[in-house]
Homo-oligomer: 243 residues x 6
């Protein structure tokens, strides 16, 4: 029995999944697959400088970021859940990992996306990744006390951080998102406070698209405006054909 394709995205803050994995999520939506985003925090302290400077309260900021993230998820065709575990710092705990185990057991993801394990500019990102990875391993154990069947071993992909080279991020998978880039851009525009990021991540998608074409070879006839997202694989790829 093979599970139905299901995508789980574990994101430290409310915006991360949009900038870095919006294309992959939209592609899953386009294929009619279930996709679920889990935001461990709203990014209320670390990624809302403008709102703080404007004098908003903590609750206002959390509400605003929740609303924006819900809109973006809807635009991408994904469910979204907020764990409201606090940010800056996002503190690792067994309780939070256990909540993630329960998500894994419940939705039985066949693909998992999260942050890479290093980020000298934002410690919440690797903390989220460590918990996402630990929960995935625990959810596999028959003896772990949580509802649902033990998990299989869904492949994991790390999405691209803001300063990839400083985070030991090396693109190992280039995902063609040309077909859904419009949806990704629309989702980015749901995050109204971070307008400078819209162009930054549009430029990045172009740049990764150029590299995708370079690595695919000219024979494939890919269009000049190919857009792409980059990912790393912490586990080996399993396949029955080399391609």
């Amino acid at each position: 029995m093979t599970s139905a394709p299901t995508l789980l995205v574990v994101s430290a803050h409310a915006g991360d999944f949009v900038w870095r994995a919006g294309g992959a999520i939209a592609l899953a939506g386009l294929r009619g697959e279930r996709a679920k985003v889990v935001c461990l925090s709203f990014g209320e302290r670390g990624e809302s400088a403008r709102a703080w400077r404007a004098g908003r309260t903590l609750d206002e900021i959390k509400a605003m970021r929740r609303e924006e993230a819900e809109s973006a998820a809807a635009t991408l065709g994904a469910e979204i859940e907020f764990m409201d575990a606090g940010d800056y710092p996002l503190v690792e705990s067994s309780a939070l990992v256990d909540r993630l185990v329960r998500v894994y057991r419940e939705i039985q993801p066949t693909v998992v996306l999260t942050h890479p394990l290093a980020d000298p500019y934002n410690g919440d990102h690797p903390a989220a990744a460590r918990m996402a990875l630990q929960a995935r391993v625990l959810a596999q154990a028959a003896g772990y006390d949580a509802p649902g069947e033990p998990l299989g071993a869904p492949p994991v992909f790390f999405f691209e951080p803001h300063q990839p080279e400083q985070c030991d991020f090396k693109p190992e998978v280039l995902l063609d998102i040309t077909e859904v880039f419009g949806a990704k851009r629309a989702a980015m525009e749901c995050l109204r406070a971070q307008q400078h990021m819209w162009d930054y991540y549009t430029d990045l998608a172009k740049r990764r698209g150029v590299q995708l074409r370079r690595n695919a070879g000219p024979n494939l006839g890919l269009p000049h405006d190919t857009m792409a997202e980059a990912y790393m694989r912490p586990y080996p790829q399993v396949t029955d054909v080399l391609a």
Copy 2:
């Protein structure tokens, strides 16, 4: 225009392609695709210790290894070509690289297999890999003076060396070869002088099979006797679905 699937294997010596990539080659054959093996040397000096100790001449050894490799390639459903460039050491040269460029231009491979770039036990292996990679890049240039159309950018896979950890070899792709393992074993048995290797590489295929099942997850229902080969990717994977 997309090229027909075509596999090119660049091997330093006459036996390498069998032990390390026999499964991938047989799978290509099973799918009815063209596969071509290029042996840069016969392994006449470095991998024929038994024959030398038995007093054979250089020409006898080369003839014997050619015959064995031809049988193995036929068993796997592949063409084979010998460049007879000498081994121990296999000396890198522009002329030999140029011969490889011409092969690339002629058969227009869509997948390339070769050795990894480090091997402290056998310098011929990385020398072959460097030439295979350099020729692939040169063959892409419209300005390189050789017959045929410029090459695209076929993905490259490094096959597994004899002492993987000492060669910085980390399995990045686990290829399921269960279906063709019989053919691989038959091809190995064509290399009559190296009987101890038959079991060694059968054990390795089992071990990589166990790891493939571990990484694929129990849900996939893979059989307990899954056999696998391990590969690395020097270039990023290009895809339109994360899986």
Copy 3:
């Protein structure tokens, strides 16, 4: 004053020391040296899938694994102590580290074996290693408040994980265990529930044996059925002869 040779093995779960270091332990026994195994947990949740599926209770599973591990330790000639700190996850704590410091201070090991520091398949293994290493450093400090004399600086060896390449494990020491392989096999067979592992680790010992012979050179006249275990050294070797 030099301490009598004493081996300390710090193992996350009840079975680890058998598969991965059984040969080294048996060799110490053969030389008449003291060897002590500390199991931080029984592996009751993470490595007892079959028992859980058979409906056993937590206490039954712990008892079963304790008994098996005691038999295996006895077979290898080692003492064994269980800390019962829980697994999946094995949670790091100052209290558990302190218990380890007290073991170090009491038995004054001259050699320490534990897991390597990375294992993306099982977070308990690196957690055990970090605690084993931290306790070793703390035990060296005259100012650390625990009974006994400050520890010297016993060399540490990391034993081989299940998927070595994925754990950055590179064999740095190949230990000849041919003489005691029978005892290791007998100890493995004490772990009745994991029969598929008996052959897996027998094959691994053969494979490491082949590599040991390759690295030792043919002159040494080692037998074809040489069996070996692989280790890494996190600290430099101290010696008065290069060999």
Copy 4:
């Protein structure tokens, strides 16, 4: 049949073996073992700045450095051979590698010392190391056409470069040379033109001695003036006891 202990040192220039491996060579001498130094060049261009500034001719400089190196080797109890292959740059060639193969075949070393593989300050050092390693592998092949029996697989040690951290040099073996440090110092003083190096390498031996004591542990009762040399191992250690 085990070979008699024999040490081979492959050195790019005439002085390298003294500063970096003088202790190991003197220890071999003290044990009554054969030790042979091969200097690929005299270091006549790259390491004789003072002589060039003093207006000496090339031949004078080569003669002076030969004489100094011969004195130093004699002081350490070693034979010495000069290949006079030129330095700055030391050019790699099949012919020079072949000369080294013949040395390996003739003296059948049981231990090999050479430079590490990276040195951004002096390209001759890695060139010498690459040739020393390649020749060692070629000498092992029954099919390599050179007099003498095929070589076994003697362990290799890389000695310490002048700026270790810039050369990816990490001490993996700390060799206690306290007993022979007097001889090493005397050999250093044979290199009359490089007086500032005498103290530099004496200080280094002290520093490595402090680290040796730190890694050996206080229990061993090593004296405060322990002197040491540091080495790396490119191949795994083969042993029958962990220590």
Copy 5:
């Protein structure tokens, strides 16, 4: 508005800042800049073996080390603050990080010095470094609840550990401390119990000075007795001239 140059040094124990960064601190003092040292602990358990063996109490040892560190800081022209968080182990906590955030916010450092992130001989050092780095990131966030203005992004430098190669320490910056070496030596001599370290770190400064001259080139006319300290940069250098 640019902040006035201000140096912050985060040190695990009371002596670390002297041995490893005394030159940099004295240079700041010489330029008339503010410099502040924060000692997370006194090193009362892990670095006071002699006092423990002499039968001193914990309080006596802490008082003694405080006094020594205060003298050394005064000699270097720096302020000093003790957090008395305990050592061996120095336990990471949100509360301690928060105290550091408040220091960052208050003094607004323009340069930060701390330990590197790896040290297999002393876990307190990386723990201090992780907290220093985390606090620096948190202090930048407008939403982090602590007095003062959000921090900029002051460059960070890791100072040199006792066994650099074992700590992945590679000198990336060589700082000329010749002019203030007298002050550094005087500060070292304030640490009366560790007399053997005075010469050890004097020798190290000479050795780094030799390397500084080698990397600066002879043209610069640096004196033969140039003294230096080595540092690493975890973040890229920002500049408007390459030099």
Copy 6:
């Protein structure tokens, strides 16, 4: 005696220096310093696909690229010299290295820029870098037979390759080129055949500018349209102030 500031750029092909180091060159020009570009080849085969497809001859292509590169160098305020050593492949030779040594000896550069040492997409780039580095070391030796005074030890910077993460390129220095970006853009536009690159490298300069501002901190008041180039340092920085 300190040399006058002089910049040497060693470039594999005629265009590389513009895309990757145009800003640094223009800054040198702005400061009134001498800057010299050495192009080892014209990039006539590997980087002129459009011209080959348009049916141009080899000589026409070389002439066209020479002219474009001369215009670009003039725009940046630099001298330019072509070694016409051929590309795809650029073959390393002692003769070519010797020509570079003579350039070093003649112009006595105080800063050197070249390619990084890895590029799996273009082997000419690392070949150029290896020769540039080797020549720099040889030029330092009093005994190397070439006119002029021995070189000092000018710092080297690697400029950014086209696919940085695949080339192990990690920005270690972010150079602010805002002031001269207009000149860089004008120089790029001299390379008329590669119009798609103009925007690609303008986007890259923006992206590196964002990162420069992030690493410099908001306090510095850098403008939002800061433009930057990224570099690596193969040798440690020498300085008398940490900043």
